[in-house]
Amino acid sequence: MDLFLQLTLAGLAIGSIYSCVALAVVMIYQATDHFNFAQGEMAMFSTYVAWTLVGLGAPVWLAFLLAVGISFLAGVIIERVIVKPVENAPVLNQIIVFIGLLVIFNAVAGWIWEFTIKPFPSLFPEDLGFKSTLIGPHHLGVIALTLGVLALVFAFFRFTRVGLAMRAAAANPDSARLVGISVGWMLALGWGLAASIGAVGGILVAPIVYLEPNMMAGVLLYGFAGALLGGVSSPGGAVLGGLVVGVLENWVGQYVPGGSELKLTFALILIVGVLVFKPAGLFGRVVVRRV
C-alpha cells in the first residue's frame, strides 16, 4: 500500500509539471488554434538560462525568477518576430515554423551548453522540518509551487483587465479589435506567459530528469497527452489532465510488465486513444463546424 501511495504522490508531482506544460500548450492553442511544438525546447532553454545564472553565483530562487522573466520576454519576441509572418498562412506552414524553432533551440542549447547531462539544484530545501517516507521534499515543493502558479494564472485571467482583454482576443479577435484591444500584442503576451509557465515546468523537472538538451521531449509528449485528456479548450481540464497523466504514467511503469521501458509508447497510446474516442477531451467543448 505504501508503494502505491508513493507512486501516486510522485505521480502527482510529475503530473503537476506536465500540467504546467499542458497549460502552456493550451494557452497558445486557445489564442491561436495551434499547438506549439517548440514549447518543450523553449522550456529546456529557459532551464539552461537558470542553470547559467546559478553557475554565476545567483541564489536558486533568484535564478528561477530571472529565468522566468527572461522567458517571458523571449516568448513575446519570438511571437512578434518569428511567428507573426505566418499568422495567416496554412496550418502546415505554421507547424513547420514551430518545428524549425524546436530544432534551433535544441541545437543551440547543445552548442552553448554541450550535450552532457548536468545536475540541477532543487528549489526546495532538503529538510522541511518533518519527515515523510511517502514523498520527498522536492516533489512536495513541486506540487505546492505549481498549484501556486496555477492560482496566479487563474487570478490573472479572471480578475485583471489585461487578462480579460487576452480572453476576448482569443475568443473573438474581430470584435476584440473593434473595442480597441490590440489582438496582435495580446497574442504576443500569451506567448510570453506560455514561455514563462513552460520555464517553471522545465526548472521543476530538471532536478528529476537532469538537465540536457533532449530532456523535454518526453515531458512535452506527456504535456500534450495531459492537454488532450483534459480538453484543449479548457485550461482547468489541461491541468487536471496533466496530473492524471503523471499518476497513470507511474502506475503503468510499476504495474504493467515492460511499462517502465515503454513510457513514451504509453503516451502515444494515450494521445491516439483520446483523439479517437473522445477528441474534445474530458472537459473540452465539442466544436461544431458550419459547412
Binding site: F37, A89, F224, L268, V272
Partner: protein, 331 residues
Amino acid sequence: MDRPNPITPQLLAGFGIAIVFAAVVPHLVSDFTSFQFTQAMAYGIALLGLNILTGYNGQFSIGHSAFYAVGAYTAAILLYHFEWNHYATLPVAALVAFAVGFLFGLPALRLEGLYLALATFAFAVATPQLLKFDAFEHWTGGVQGLFVPKPEPLIEGLSADQSLYYVTLAIMVLLMAVAWCLLRSRSGRAIMAIRDNPIAASTMGINTALYKTTTFGISAMYTGIAGALSVFVTEFVAPDAFNFFLAVNLLVGSVVGGIVSIPGVIFGGLFLVFVPNFAQDISRAYPFVPPPWAIFGIFLILAIYFVPFGVWGAVERALAWWKRKSAGLGG
C-alpha cells in the same frame, strides 16, 4: 499547378536528359559520391511518400521516421535472421509499411490537421524506445541494432556502390511514375479533392475514409521502401537513427523540394544529403557559426517565409513566367 504536369514533349525531353545524366554519373564520380547519391535517392523516395500524403492529400505527418524505421527494420531482420536476398526483402518491407500505415491511418481518420500532426509526432518520438524494447531485442538487436551486408553487384564490372545506385535509380523512377499515374488518375483527383474540400468531396460520392487510409498506407509504403534501401546503403540499422530528427529531416526535404510536387523530391533528397555536410564544414571552420541543426532550422523557417512552394514550385513558376513572356512577345 497542383496536379502533376501532363506529359508534354518538353517534359519528356527534360526527363530523358535527366535520366541519361543520372545513368552516367556513377562512372564520373568516386564510389563514395555514388553512395551519397544513392542515399539521396532513397531519401527522395521517402519524400515522395510524404508529398503524396501531405502535399496532395492534405494529411500532415511529422512522424514519417516511424514508417522509414518499419521498412528499414523489416529488411534488416529478413537479411540478418533469415538471410534473404536483398531485393526480395523490398516487397515485404513495402507491404509491412503499407499495413502499418493503413492501420495508423484508421485512427487518423478522425483527426484533422493539427491533431494528426500531434499523433504522428507522438509516433515518431516513441519509435526509438519501441525498437529498443527488451522483448523485441532478439529480433531488433536492441540498442546495438543490426549489421547487414551490402548487396552484391548485379552486373559484373560494376562496384557494389554503382550497382546499388542503378537499382535505387530504377526503383525511384518507377515509383515516381507510379505516383504520377496515381495522381493523374480518377483516384488522384479524389485524393486532391479531399485535401481541397473534404465535405464537398464526400458529397460528390468519394469514400473519404477509404481514400484517406489508403493514401496513408501508400505514403507509408513509399517511405518503407526508402527505409529498406537506406539499410542496403548504410549496411546498418540502430534505433536512434530513427528519432524525431529524422522525421524533421524528411519534412525539411519535402518543403525544400516542393511539397506539392513529384520531381521536387530529387532536390529534397540531394539537399538532405549534401547540405548538412556543408553546414558541418562551415560550423567546424568558423566557431561562431551555429551548429548544422540550427542552420537547418533557420533554413526551414526562411524557406517557409519566402519559398513555401519549394525548388520545384520555383522552377514551375519560372517556366510559366517564361512561357507568358515569350507568348507575349510572339503575339
